[in-house]
């Protein structure tokens, strides 16, 4: 080590061997934790490692996983989105209600997308132009969205009977495991957002704005526009999450997803995102989502009493993040 470690004058390029730099990637820590949990449940329960069950874990991650992408984008800009779950539910109810009333389901989905984008634009504008704290803006928006959902649904939930609306619930079976289009769409969404974050100028600017808004402004980045775009994209993703959700649970339930905000923030933080912005990424969030889903699935398979599940989950989540921290210091 000490030969490559020697400090030489001039510009130096990294000399880490590939395996080492791979181990340094920020999402490796959470990934290791995820694998450890999987190993644990594989050895201590009978059914965990069956294709059927693994497919279930994936299916159970679809809604939260999609939603958490939008949340992560907002967190990357040092924000927090308390309206994530609310917007998703509103979009679900819009699709459910208008489809039931006979509107063309494609139109319903477009309408939901449009509403979510407008809502994202509203919070984005308030955050970027009036520079209000995202916490307050999205909390306020949550109130508005919740009321809109209730007024629209009057407490009813709408069964999804249309093929297009429920499309993402379809799929095929691959060596015993059911693969839904929703799962594929989720992976596609992650790939797309990861691409946008790491391979485009927009992603660069998102990180810069989150990491140091003052510096971003001074170097000539249009900070308000980037912020606005993030909230709009997040809104779009929430609406898409709503569509995925209808594929998984064929009913637009105005009461769904009440813990989605907390869960999605948790997934992002477990995955290594910093609530102070500019650090972390969506791949970590995907792993964080899977960690949460594996925990829930595994604990139920082990037959842990729900009274204790909260406790065990709490401890394990702390352990997961602690392990990640130790891992990072180690390398």
């Amino acid at each position: 080590m000490s030969t490559i470690a020697k400090f030489k004058p001039g510009v130096q390029t990294p000399v880490l061997p590939f395996w080492k730099s791979a181990l340094l990637m920020p999402s490796v820590g959470p990934l290791v934790v995820l694998l450890l949990f999987c190993l644990f449940f594989a050895f201590t329960t009978e059914h965990f490692l069956t294709p059927r069950n693994l497919s279930l874990v994936m299916q159970q991650s679809v809604i939260l996983g999609a939603l958490a992408i939008g949340q992560t984008l907002v967190i990357l800009t040092a924000g927090i989105d308390l309206a994530a779950g609310g917007i998703t539910v509103l979009a679900m109810v819009i699709i459910g209600r208008f489809a039931l009333e006979g509107l063309d389901p494609a139109l319903c989905i477009l309408l939901a997308l449009a509403v979510a984008i407008v809502l994202g634009a509203v919070s984005g504008t308030l955050v970027s132009r009036l520079r209000l704290p995202p916490f307050i803006v999205t909390l306020g928006l949550l109130g508005i969205v919740t009321a809109a959902t209730r007024l629209l649904s009057m407490g009813n939930s709408y069964p999804i009977e249309n093929d297009l609306a429920a499309f993402f619930g379809n799929g095929f079976t691959l060596s015993g495991a059911r693969v839904t289009y929703g799962m594929l769409a989720l992976l596609g969404l992650y790939a797309a957002v990861a691409f946008a974050l790491h391979e485009t100028w927009w992603g660069r600017h998102v990180y810069a704005v989150g990491n140091s808004p003052a510096a971003a402004r001074l170097v000539g980045i249009n900070v308000p526009r980037i912020l606005l775009s993030v909230y709009v994209v997040a809104g779009l993703i929430y609406a898409f999450a709503a569509w995925l959700a209808l594929g998984r649970i064929p009913s637009a339930d105005p009461n769904a997803l009440q813990t989605a905000n907390l869960d999605s923030i948790t997934a992002a933080v477990i995955g290594g995102a910093s609530l102070f912005g500019g650090r972390g990424g969506v791949i970590g969030t995907l792993i964080g989502t899977l960690i949460i889903a594996v925990l829930r699935n595994g604990l139920t398979l082990r037959g842990i009493d729900p009274l204790w599940q909260d406790l065990v989950t709490g401890v394990l989540v702390i352990l997961a993040v602690a392990a990640d921290q130790l891992y990072r210091r180690r390398w």
Binding site: E46, H47, T50, R52, N53, L56, Q59, Q60, I63, R150, S153, G155, S157, P159, A245, R248, I249, P250, S251, D253, P254, N255, A256, L257, Q258, T259, R296, N297, T300, L301, G303, D305, P306, L307
Partner: protein, 305 residues
């Protein structure tokens, strides 16, 4: 892992939440009953009233585990049906507890109280207790959008003989069934309408908060406060005169009967079917005409606290 023939049979119980006594008692009873029959009970719960996602996941996980039967209090009467269908297709007996599904025959059987009816008892009692006075009521509801909350609410109004939106309804607030929220809501409603004479409350913990507010305003003699549940603390409040009446339900009975039915079916016996009403009783020490009721002595023995 090798299949072990001697594995005990697994039965699942899925409640809406595990924060309110109603469901806690339901699970206690199921656990006891399971022990009696030598079956393994795997309990799961939603994170909040309306958490269909967790319930669907729980059904899926129970199918994975190879459960023989599932007892579920559906958070949403339609949203879980596709998962239920999958379970039944695998030969699992599914029984709805407390809340029926829509359609009701989507499950094998339903063991429940009729929440609408329970609300109706409450309303009818209050109407009689007002003794001909024009009702001026406020409603302390549960969680917004929860079906139980709405059924009880609507039932109460029917019992009162009022239509939705009747001007006699002076106000309503969501309390999440919690004492603190109910108390603040009641205080504010009383500040706006000092002439309230009847209060509907979603459950007994909410009623306890409402009573504190009513007492602080010195109106405990003028207001008919009623509740639903049948927990021992709630019955005691009736006994102490804090609430005029409560409508008792029997969550323990639902769970115990349901579990026994599943065990019987699994052993090759008769499959349960249809709607089994586990009953509701008005508990009060001030009985009124036309409403059958039991006194708090009965209540103290039958309560589930």
């Amino acid at each position: 892992a090798p299949a072990r023939a001697e594995e005990p049979m697994v039965v699942g119980l899925i409640t809406k939440t595990d924060t309110i006594p109603f469901f806690v008692k339901m699970r206690e009873a199921a656990t006891e009953e399971a022990k009696k029959h030598g079956v393994k009970l795997v309990a799961s719960t939603g994170k909040f009233d309306g958490d269909t996602e967790s319930q669907v996941a729980a059904i899926e996980n129970l199918i994975s585990v190879g459960a023989k039967g599932i007892l579920i209090t559906p958070s949403n009467s339609t949203a879980i049906l596709s998962a239920v269908k999958e379970a039944r297709a695998k030969g699992i007996v599914v029984i709805a507890l407390d809340t029926p599904t829509e359609p009701a025959d989507a499950v094998d059987a339903t063991f429940a109280t009729d929440n609408f009816k329970a609300g109706e008892y409450q309303g009818a009692y209050a109407k009689q207790a007002l003794g001909g006075k024009a009702p001026k009521i406020v409603m302390l509801d549960g969680t917004s959008g929860s079906s139980v909350s709405e059924l009880r609410h609507d039932g109460y109004l029917k019992g009162m003989g009022l239509a939705k939106g009747d001007p006699a309804i002076l106000g309503a607030q969501f309390t999440n069934g919690a004492t603190d929220k109910a108390q603040a809501a009641m205080e504010n409603l009383l500040a706006a309408h000092p002439d309230i004479n009847a209060v509907y409350s979603i459950n007994e913990t909410a009623a306890a908060g409402a009573y504190a507010a009513i007492k602080a305003a010195g109106l405990e003699k003028d207001i008919v406060l009623t509740a639903i549940d049948g927990g021992c603390a709630g019955v005691k409040n009736v006994h102490d005169g804090k609430t005029a009446a409560t409508v008792m339900q029997f969550p323990r009975k639902m769970a115990a009967l349901g579990l026994a039915a599943i065990v019987e079916a699994a052993k090759g016996g008769k499959k349960p079917a249809g709607f089994v009403d586990t009953g509701a009783e008005v508990i009060t020490d001030k009985p009124v005409e036309g409403i059958p009721s039991k006194d708090t002595k009965f209540g103290a023995e039958a309560c589930w606290g």
